[in-house]
Amino acid sequence: MTELMDSPTAEVASATDEKYHGLTRAEIDQLGAELDALRLRIIADLGETDAEYLRKVVKAQRSFEIAGRALFYLPVIGWLPAVAALSVSKILDNMEIGHNVMHGQYDWMGDPNYNSRMFDWDTMAPAENWKYGHNYMHHTYTNVVGKDRDVGYGILRMDPEQKWNPYYLGNPLWAFLLMTFFEWGVALHDLETEEVFAGRRKMFGGENAPIWRRIRKKMGKQVLKDYVLFPALTGPLFLSTLAGNAVANLVRNIWTFNIIFCGHFPAGVASFSVEETENETRGQWYLRQMLGSANITGGKLMHVMSGNLSHQIEHHLFPDIPARRYPEMAVEVQEMCERYGLPYNKGPLHKQLFSVFAKIVRLSFPGGAQKEAPVRGPQAVTDDSLAA
């Protein structure tokens, strides 16, 4: 899948009349070419401002972290500011820095500190495991039910194509637990437990052995740091620091869970079958990324704190381009969506969250509406609608 080269010409002839999610083959190719051109233009422009931005964010994150760790020494009145600073530190570390650096967005800088092969983040999931499941599996097979393991994370029913069973009555509860223990869930996600339960994989042996070893090691380090050493260093305030660190981790868990769930699960986001994405062209891959993602609208703070995953559509089109470029790219992507009659799924956080929540509840019961993006197609676009 995601063949970057064109399929044989015979196939093209038969495919020209056939529409794929509302667009003809030629239209999809044209769209792909436009997105490629945008991509090249931005890559050619990467430079000092991007590097400076990243260093500035890292500097801010380190400062919040140092401040957070230090404020725990201030009994009672220091606690809340300490938790707040540490929460911000962890959110910045995981989203605008970690997620994006580990995508290789800053590999071009040649700085080992920001190289996707070297970086690790302040959360339970070891970088190496996560990069495989996320950069490769999720970003290649986005929203392909049965291939993208981020559709329901192996524990939720987030798509009507997932066969219902009584376990899914607990969908809202499972989602709540996943949110609360999100960093643990993300780390264990790479063990592919649904494959284990299907009997195709060993839980801790075989191909899971090195994955599990890395998880244990990383969890050990994180637990030692946040729940033993830093609390111990504050002496008599041990329990207060321990609780503060736990709350900071919880705040980060809730925030990242919500941002991520708004990326692919609001109403109107399409899902795909394995069959229809076989022999996919580059244009079709682009189209799938557009139809399979949703954005969150908001101010600058919203974008920074979400690691610009508030621009999930742009992120999925250009996962390796520095995320700070997504807002400017979004203007052009949105314009393309207009022209091709494609939906551009965006909304404020509360609206997207409510939509996700409704879906979690609805899909805890059998059935559920097909996930089909409301594509109008370029034919439906008139000069009037473009002008509007």
Binding site: L4, M5, G47, E48, D50, A51, E52, V58, K59, R62, S63, I66, D107, W108, M109, G110, D111, N113, R117, D120, W121, D122, K218, K221, Q222, L224, K225, L229, F230, L233
Partner: protein, 387 residues
């Protein structure tokens, strides 16, 4: 001196971590407790916030001074560096990887340069003597634009092209250095070390220094070499300029039993080929190339058959035995690269399928989805590179 390559390839792939030392503060900063607290980013990423010269593991240096050695089209400059206390020192003849953030692009480029000063200890200053090559943007930048105060990123010293014998335990064996152009730097480090540490040539061990430069104006360290030649120290200096190329006849006249003499050779490929031919299968010759000028062919007697597919760009080329990087560039592709000698990992790419050979080690590998450094990897049959 530009990119260096040791033979046999014994270059450590990663700088090893500093051990205890550098004072009690260093010991605390490198302790398991501090490492655990600073996980996963490492203590250096916090220290750096306060002062770029504070480090527990990383090695950085501040440029103390820049001294122009020669002018002309390809000028040479000597940079004096004050390293962080994590610098473990160097043995004469070693080189160091230097990472420079190039202004305008924000990109860090990493290149190897040999150290020209006498052997250094932990945290001690040392010098790099660099020629500004036209095609070398890093060397050009360091020679022409680097300013005192600027911070460079370093590796620990590396390389096995070193002076083995210590001047404290002299033997009667003679030493011979044959160098060309900026290849003089590692040999200069060795001679400076010998003279600094009390070598006076009176223990019966003579040193012969034979150097080739393009012209008298292009001669690096001219004054110092003249002083060394004039002093009563047992060091013979022979400088050859312009058209005077290396000849075995002349070498035999200077050092009749050169094949039985420990020899250090460093210079451009033309000189290296001539000297290698003169030494035949003598094991006394140690050498360090700079800039492997030509693509190295596959192992002698082996024909490479197969196609290289650069899958991302959709281009294909018949394998020639040259490095994947060079073959990609012949097709007009512009893959990222750094040292072009297999030590900085800048050009690492995924080989998704097929068999490749490591040019440095001759090792063949057919593992799928393997990260390879394309500058030192050649196809050994059909292969697919994610490029």
């Amino acid at each position: 001196m530009s990119a260096l390559i040791s033979e046999p390839a014994a270059v450590p792939t990663r700088p090893r971590r500093s051990r205890a030392g550098g004072g009690p503060l260093g010991m605390v900063l490198r302790s398991r407790l501090v490492t655990a607290l600073a996980s996963p980013h490492g203590v250096d990423s916090y220290l750096e916030r306060f002062n770029p010269m504070w480090a527990a593991h990383d090695v950085r240096a501040r440029i103390v001074s820049v001294h122009r050695e020669t002018e002309g089209d390809a000028p040479v400059a000597t940079l004096t560096l004050q390293p962080t206390s994590t610098w473990r020192g160097h043995r004469a003849g070693q080189h160091v990887l230097v990472g420079v953030e190039m202004p305008g692009s924000a990109k860090r480029f990493t290149r190897a340069f040999s150290i020209s000063s006498a052997a250094s200890g932990r945290g001690e200053q040392f010098t790099l003597t660099i020629r500004a090559h036209d095609e070398g943007q890093v060397s050009s930048y360091l020679v022409r634009s680097a300013q005192p105060g600027q911070i460079l990123h370093l590796s620990q010293a590396q390389g096995e092209f070193t002076l083995v014998e210590s001047p404290a335990t002299p033997t009667i064996s003679r030493l011979l250095f044959i160098t060309g152009g900026s290849g003089i730097t590692p040999a200069m480090s060795m001679v400076r070390t010998l003279l600094r540490d009390g070598y006076d040539g009176h223990a019966g061990r003579k040193v012969t220094f034979l150097h080739f430069a393009r012209s008298a104006e292009d001669q690096i360290f001219a004054d110092e070499l003249a002083e060394i030649a004039a002093a009563d120290n047992g060091v013979d200096v022979h400088l050859r300029h312009g058209d005077q190329v290396f000849s075995e006849f002349e070498l035999r006249r200077l050092v009749p039993d050169y094949k039985e003499t420990d020899t250090w050779l460093c210079g451009p490929p033309g000189l290296v080929e001539l000297v290698k031919a003169a030494y035949g299968d003598s094991t006394r010759l140690r050498m360090e190339f700079f800039k492997p000028a030509v693509a190295r062919a596959a192992q002698p007697g082996e024909e490479v058959e197969g196609d290289i597919s650069f899958t991302r760009s959709g281009k294909t080329v018949a394998a020639s035995g040259a490095s994947l990087l060079e073959q990609a560039e012949e097709l007009g592709l512009k893959p990222e690269f750094g040292c072009r000698m297999g030590i900085c990992f800048s050009c690492t790419r995924t080989k998704t399928a097929g068999t490749v050979r490591n040019i440095l080690t001759g090792e063949e590998s057919a593992l799928p989805d393997e990260e390879v450094r394309i500058c030192v990897t050649a196809a050994a049959g059909d292969c697919h590179i994610d490029l």
